[in-house]
Amino acid sequence: MRGAELTSVEEVLDRVRKELAEGRLPVEIFNSPAVFAAEQERLFRRAWLFLAHDSEIPEPGDYVLRNLAGNSVIVVRDEQGTVRCLLNMCRHRGNQVCKAAMGNASHFRCSYHGWTYANDGRLIGVPHIRTVYDGRLRRSDWNLLEVRTDSYQGLVFGCLDPGAPDLEEYLGGFQFYLDIYLRPGPGGTEVYAPPNQWVTETDWKICAENFAGDGYHTPVAHQFGFQLGYYASSASTHSQGYAVHFPHRGHGIGLGRTPGMTPFFGYPDEVVQGMAEALSPAQLELFKETRTAVSTVFPNLSLLIQPFSATPGEPGVRFCTMRLWQPIGVGRMQMLSWCLVPKDAPEAYKAEAYRAYTLAFGHGGMFEQDDFDNWSRVTAMAGNPAAQELSFPYLMGLDREPIADFPGPGVAVTPYMTETNFRNMWQTWLEYLERP
């Protein structure tokens, strides 16, 4: 047995490269100091990472404090309406210039020596500048550090790599599927509330993989749902559908279908009408019989739509959760979880959808509880010495041919219970980590 501490990341990546081609993956990647360090350097500093939803900062001066690859950043709408991502560090001696999780500010003033920045990051105030700096300090040299941002349908992303392609190319056609969450009407979506936040002893990749379309776990991990009468049977509701992935991009979506179901059930008429206006015929055709849409935008943003009801057995209401799996240490993660609602929907529906979210997928949600209990135990075991030489099988759907005439972009296979999306996610992960 080898000790996890002594394994270099290059050895691990060699294993991943060889095994992935054969439909296996080394267990050690799920709880490894070497892998964590390499991910921070080679993946999270290069990829587009989710920062905030537009609706969290609707007015000039509105800000939220977020974490971008280990960096505390202020995501703020400046006086001109431009969303900016600014490192939360005074350029003079490094104190945090913003200490609240959200708010509204025209300026950020450092509480150490009083340097003051406009909400677009410009340094505009330096106490005693004339008498102590003798003209040697040029304010424009010392603005808050700004990080590149870009957005799609209200989702604001940041990227620390100036050489990375723009967000549109990064998403690479995945927008077609993201629209099921983000374009439920011409007005798009809004967050119903700030995110639930909690810290968990879980490796972020387990969650990202699961949300890339793990239809396999549902009937077992969430067996209570069948027991209580939420689902009729696992065979009829959790094996149909599609899994779609985008090679070299890493994104994946699982579309769980219930053939013959009332199209778009669980949405109010206003939202069904809104989708008819906002979505293309190909999108509508594909989404109308989709019961569950679960996806990961590589590397660590996931979205889920599913119906849920206060009373088991009733059709229920559709809710949409968006979650960010942020690694903050080896096998440790900061969780942020939002509920998105269609902006144009009736308020009563928004509230009902949020209630369904809290019951199913908020921090205290019944599905959430099952998932994180399992995932934290996977993480713990992946750190065991005996696990360091073991591998997991990723064989499901290995020989499946893509569907030739699928209505959407990307590579689609059927059924929804498959590991095709996961192999693609890992291949992309490997491609990032192989680049020194």
Binding site: A193, V199, T358
Partner: protein
């Protein structure tokens, strides 16, 4: 409204000592039912139209009136959905509670008064939660406000609002009731 969204207890009509003491004993018994995992008996302590809410706390600057999100909730339950949670906890498939959490609910600083004819009970709540062989524990400290209805010699909970004193929580799963 205070920073925690509750009517303040201090200036209100206080309950007679004997009644206040019965309210306290009721809250202690309720806590015991949770700690002993007698969830169905616990659920029976709620009125049919009961609500059970835990607003989200957000770190804000001091100048802001309240740290509580007007829309965000950790829990937003009715008796019906609490019933679903209890049914799940009593099933063989609540993996997050297998093996079960050990909880101890500490109910202290109980203040009682009457507002608009309804009994109000506000307490400091500390829930210790430990699982398996893990030597660490999750602690949830909360400001808890209950509206109680008298039913004979006993009480029923009509409304519970609890505010956890943390914006970023711990716990791989929040599978315990507060």
């Amino acid at each position: 409204m205070t920073s925690n969204g509750a009517s303040e207890a201090l200036d209100q009509e206080r309950l007679p000592v004997e009644l206040a003491r019965r309210v306290e004993q009721f809250l202690f018994r309720e806590a015991q039912l949770l700690d002993e995992r007698r969830f169905e008996e616990w659920l029976a302590l709620f009125c049919e139209d009961a609500s059970y809410e835990a607003p989200l706390r957000i770190t804000r600057e001091r100048q802001v009136d309240s740290e509580l999100s007007p829309t965000g909730r950790i829990f937003w339950d009715s008796k019906q959905t609490l019933g679903v949670r209890v049914q799940r906890l009593c099933s063989d498939f609540a993996w997050a509670e297998q093996p079960p959490s050990r909880t101890r609910h500490f109910v202290t600083n109980v203040r009682t008064w009457r507002a608009d004819g309804v009994i109000q009970a506000r307490c400091n709540l500390l829930v210790y939660r430990n699982r398996g062989e893990d030597p660490r524990a999750d602690l949830y400290s909360a400001d808890r406000m209950d509206e109680l209805v008298e039913e004979g010699d006993d009480f029923r909970i009509r409304r519970r609002i609890l505010v956890v004193d943390q914006a970023n929580l711990t716990g791989n799963s929040l599978s315990v009731l507060l």
